[in-house]
Amino acid sequence: MIEVSHVTKDFVMPKKYPGLRGAIKGLFSNEKTVKRAVDDISFQIGQGEIVGYIGSNGAGKSTTIKIMTGILSPSDGTCFVAGIDPNRRRKENAQNIGVVFGQRTQLWWDLPLSESFTILKEIYNVSDQAYREQMEFLNQVLELSAFFDKPVRTLSLGQRMRADLGAALLHNPKVLYLDEPTIGLDLVVKDNIRRAIREINEKYKTTVVLTTHDIGDIEELCSRIIIIDEGKKIYDGSLEALKDTYGTKRTLSLEVKQIQKASGFSPAEILGVREEECITELDFENSLLKITFDGHKLQAPQILSTVMNEIEITDIQLKETELAEIVKEIYRHGTEGE
C-alpha cells in the first residue's frame, strides 16, 4: 500500500547570524544551512497494517508523513501510496488518504461541525447513501452527535480531536495518517480514539500510520513499529521482537523482613554470573531488595531460591521492562552507534 524507498528530505534555510550586525550580514550573504530531516529511509507497509512510527522530537516523523501525503516533495528517493506518487499527483492521492495532525484542525473553525462534514462530503464527492452510512458508523464509534451542531471553535480538545478523526474518515480512505492524534487528551478520550482506530481498521482494512509519544497508543494498536532517530531508520519490526531483543531486563522486587541481613548479599556471585547481569540494590526505607537481571541468562525462580536460602521474604513482585524504557534505550544506541 505504501512504498517508501531511499527517501531523503533536506530543508535549506538561509544562514542566520546572531545580533543586529548578524541580521544585516545575513541579508547580504548567500550562505545556506541544510537540515537533513529525513535521511535515506525505506519501508513498505501492506494493506490493513497499523504501523507505529516513533522517534524523539525532531526525529523527522512529521516530515515523513508530509511526504507521504504529498504536501512536501522528497529531495531524493521515491514514495508511492496505493500506486500513486503523492507529490506529483497530489489531488488523486488526497482522495485515497485521510490525515489528522494533532496540533492542527482541518475543520472550519467558525462553522458548526455539521457544516464541516457537509463541505467535506462535497469536496470528496461522497454519495448521499455512503455519507449516511459512514456518519452512522462514525457517530457510533466517536460519539459525535453530542456536539454535532456546535461551532468548531467552541469544542473541547477531546471533542475536536474526535471530530477531526471523523472528518479524516468520512470518505473512507485507504490510508489513514495520524500525527500525534492523542496529544494532550485525557485517558477516556484516548481510549475512545484508540477504539475508533481499531474498529475502522477491522471494518475496512484501512492502513494506518501513527506517530505518537504515547507508548500506550503503540501497545494497544500497533503490531509493527518503525523507529527513526535523527532522520534515520533504526528499527523496523514487530513489537514482540522489539521487546524480545531489548526488553530482556526484568526486575524482581522482594520485600524482606530484616533488610540488614541483605547487605553484602550478592546473588550474582552465588549463581556465577557477571555483576551487570544481575544487579542488586537495597532500599532500606521500604525494606526492599531489588534484583535486576538479564532474562536470557537467568530465570526468576533460580534467583528466588538463592535469596530464600539466606533471607526471609514477605512479598514478591516481578516487573518487565516498560516499552518506554526500551525505546529510550534504542535512542541512546541510535545516537551513539553507527
Binding site: F11, S62, K66, T69, G70, I71, L72, S73, R90, K91, E92, A94, Q95, I97, V99, F101, Q103, R104, T105, Q106, W108, D110, L111, E115, T118, I119, E122, I123, Y124, N125, D179
Partner: protein, 272 residues
C-alpha cells in the same frame, strides 16, 4: 467538470454566510469607504466649478459623478483580497490542511472570493447603483439607461474580478517567502487605487503614461467596466476591451499556475 464545480461551491456559500454573520463590522467598513467616495466627489465638483471647460479628461460633470461612484462600487465588488487569506493560511500553517484535500488551492480561494463578491454586490452595491440610475434620469445631458450597456458592464466586471483575484493570488505567493506581507499589502492597496483609476480616471494621465498602463492589468480591473457603463466604448472598441480583459485572465491564470508550481516544489510548511 460538473463534479469539480460542486466541490468548490461550499467555499462560495460559506463565505457568503460568514459575511452575513459579520454584518456590523461590514456596514462600518462601507461607511468609511463611502466617506472616501464622497470626499472624492466634492473634490471633483470643486475642480469642475473652478474651470469654465465643459469636459475634463473627456468627462462632463454629470459623467464624472457617475464615474466616481461607479468606480467606487466596482472597486468594492472586484477587489477581494485573496492575498490576505493566503498570508493567513501561511501564518497559521493551514496551507497544509488545504493540501491534504483533493482540491485546487487557487480554485478554492477564487470560489471563496466569489462569495465575497456576490455579497458585496447584493448588499451595498445594488442600492448605490439604483441611486445612480435615479441621478442619471434626473440630470439632463446624460445618456439614457441602456440594458445593453448594463449587460456589458456586468460581463466586464466579472472579468475584472477574475483579473484582480488571479493577480492578487500571485501577489499572495510572496507570503510563502517572507511570511509577513502586511507592509507590502498597504503599498499594493495604495498603488491599486491609483493604477486602476479608482482615484483619478485614467484619461487624465498624460498620453505616454496611458500607453504604459495599456500594458499593465490594472486599468482592466476598474476603469474598463466603468467606461463601458458610461458608454465610452462601443462597437469594435468595446469588443477589443473585453478581449483584452479576457487575455489578462488567461495570462494571469497561467502565470499563477507557474508560480504555484514553483512554490509547492520548494514549499516549506511550518513544522508541527
Amino acid at each position: 467538470m460538473k463534479r469539480r464545480i460542486k466541490a468548490y461551491l461550499p467555499f462560495t456559500i460559506n463565505e457568503l454566510k460568514r459575511q452575513m454573520a459579520y454584518k456590523g463590522a461590514f456596514y462600518l467598513f462601507i461607511l468609511v469607504k463611502m466617506f472616501g467616495a464622497f470626499i472624492n466627489y466634492y473634490l471633483w465638483m470643486a475642480i469642475y466649478g473652478s474651470t469654465n471647460q465643459n469636459t475634463l479628461g473627456g468627462l462632463t460633470q454629470g459623467e464624472m459623478v457617475i464615474y466616481i461612484f461607479m468606480a467606487y462600487l466596482t472597486g468594492t465588488i472586484v477587489t477581494v483580497s485573496v492575498s490576505n487569506w493566503v498570508s493567513e493560511d501561511v501564518v497559521q500553517g493551514t496551507v497544509a490542511m488545504n493540501l491534504i484535500k483533493p482540491i485546487d488551492y487557487r480554485m478554492s480561494l477564487i470560489s471563496r472570493a466569489s462569495g465575497d463578491m456576490i455579497y458585496q454586490f447584493l448588499v451595498p452595491s445594488v442600492f448605490i447603483w439604483i441611486g445612480l440610475e435615479i441621478y442619471r434620469a434626473a440630470v439632463p445631458g446624460l445618456p439614457p439607461f441602456s440594458a445593453e450597456k448594463v449587460l456589458f458592464y456586468l460581463v466586464s466586471t466579472v472579468l475584472s474580478f477574475l483579473i484582480y483575484v488571479l493577480f492578487d493570488f500571485c501577489f499572495g505567493m510572496i507570503a510563502f517567502f517572507t511570511t509577513y506581507i502586511f507592509g507590502l499589502m498597504m503599498v499594493k492597496q495604495a498603488l491599486i487605487a491609483f493604477l486602476t483609476g479608482q482615484l483619478i480616471p485614467i484619461s487624465f494621465f498624460p498620453e505616454a503614461v496611458q500607453r504604459v498602463f495599456d500594458f499593465l492589468p490594472f486599468s482592466s480591473m476598474v476603469y474598463t467596466p466603468v467606461m463601458i457603463y458610461l458608454g465610452k466604448y462601443t462597437g469594435n472598441k468595446l469588443f477589443f476591451m473585453l478581449l483584452r480583459q479576457a487575455a489578462w485572465v488567461v495570462l494571469l491564470y497561467l502565470f499563477g499556475s507557474l508560480i504555484w508550481r514553483k512554490v509547492t516544489k520548494r514549499l516549506v510548511i511550518l513544522g508541527g
